[in-house]
């Protein structure tokens, strides 16, 4: 299995008000991978779009804010329409080290997985650890990091994620993974190093109240998506 060619790759960066970091992220990806970079501007008000354009990215401007997943989905639909075969999603806040991008591609070539998640295990705080253990139990997905925004999707994953079925999800996390696992796709993880966020903080894990709300919504989402098929496929994805 050969490595995915950079020319067929599109790096998608969903960004809302990330003017301080987005330029450096775009340059970093271009230097590390040499692939095209698309910044999806999620109705920013701070000039994120022009900063991204200046750094050499293609920019999509969403006129109405959609949240991180809506912006990523816009990027995936753009990639599909323009004939790209791979999408790599990267957070705009600079916490993902561009140097770790080739690791995702290498892992893909190694395991021919449909989705590769870049996981940083040591970053996990106590509430996250508890949350993850619970989610592993609930979803039957044997993954270590459910919310990492650093992911590689292949063409079949892109096709599924571009459908209306995926449009009502709010985060690029459990819902996305369950949808893909339910369709029988293979999900794999690779450890990567992460940098502390230069600016801003996790939108999900900002406070205990937020965590509680997130976990409640995610539980409902999981219950609505659970079926025997997805559990079996999840087991397959885990390789057990």
């Amino acid at each position: 299995m050969s490595l995915p060619a950079p020319a067929e790759c599109l790096a998608v960066i969903p960004a809302r008000d990330e003017v301080a970091t987005v330029g450096a992220v775009v340059c970093g990806i271009r230097a590390a991978l040499g692939c095209a970079v698309l910044v999806v501007d999620d109705a920013s008000t701070d000039g994120t779009a022009s900063a991204a354009q200046l750094a050499g990215a293609t920019v999509l401007r969403l006129p109405i804010g959609q949240g991180a997943w809506g912006a990523s989905q816009a990027g995936i639909r753009f990639a599909e329409r323009n004939g790209y075969r791979w999408v790599i999603t990267v957070d705009a806040d600079g916490q993902h080290d561009p140097a770790s991008l080739p690791l995702l591609l290498a892992r893909q070539a190694q395991e021919s997985a449909n989705v590769v998640i870049g996981t940083c295990v040591e970053r996990l705080s106590l509430p996250k650890r508890i949350a993850w253990q619970y989610l592993r139990m609930l979803t039957g997905l044997g993954l270590r990091d459910f919310t990492s925004g650093l992911r590689l999707y292949d063409a079949s994953a892109m096709r599924i994620l571009a459908t209306p079925e995926a449009s009502l999800l709010d985060f690029q996390d459990v819902g996305v993974l369950m949808l893909l696992a339910g369709k029988g796709l293979k999900i794999s993880e690779t450890p990567v190093t992460m940098r502390a966020r230069i600016e801003g903080h996790s939108r999900v894990f900002a406070s205990w109240a937020m965590v509680a709300r997130y976990m409640f919504n995610t539980t409902i989402l999981c219950i609505s998506r659970l079926d025997i098929g997805s559990r079996n496929n999840a087991a397959k994805a885990r390789g057990t």
């Binding site: 020319a7 599109l10 095209a36 999806v40 293609t58 920019v59 999509l60 401007r61 969403l62 006129p63 109405i64 959609q66 809506g70 989905q73 816009a74 639909r77 753009f78 329409r81 323009n82 004939g83 790209y84 459908t163 209306p164 449009s167 009502l168």
Partner: protein, 131 residues
């Protein structure tokens, strides 16, 4: 002092009149208009002929008949609210997809205007593109 029946009739006629007016003015469209016209008709009938309630109470075996329209109205309101949220979710999905498509097409239009080639030439741009 007004007779209870007259009070009920006035309320029913006012509500029905308001709904008819809104439907006539095109403020309520299609299936909503049909639903609300039915509500208007029901309040009109119950307002003018309150004996219907007593009769329905006898028919259903409910001893305290006046509670019957309240129960029915509450259930219908709950159903209506549920339907409203279902519609809202569907519309949210459509708005998100249209927004994404708008952004993508806007970008293509800008590149075409600027006379550049497309960033990556589509190998297989689908003829029809779903919303």
């Amino acid at each position: 002092m007004l007779d209870a029946q007259i009070t009920a009739a006035i309320l029913g006629v006012c509500l029905a009149g308001a709904i008819f007016y809104l439907v006539r003015r095109d403020h309520l469209h299609g299936p909503y208009a049909a639903w609300w016209l039915m509500v208007a008709a029901a309040t009109l009938i119950l307002g003018i002929f309150p004996a219907v309630v007593t009769w329905l109470g006898l028919l259903t075996g409910i001893k305290y008949a006046p509670v019957l329209p309240i129960i029915v109205a509450l259930s219908l309101i709950l159903l209506r609210l549920l339907k409203l949220d279902i519609d809202r979710s569907r519309q949210e999905r459509q708005i998100r997809r249209l927004t994404q498509k708008l952004a993508i097409l806007d970008h293509e239009l800008q590149s075409l205007r600027a006379g550049e080639a497309k960033p990556a030439q589509a190998q297989s741009t689908p003829e029809t593109w779903e919303d």
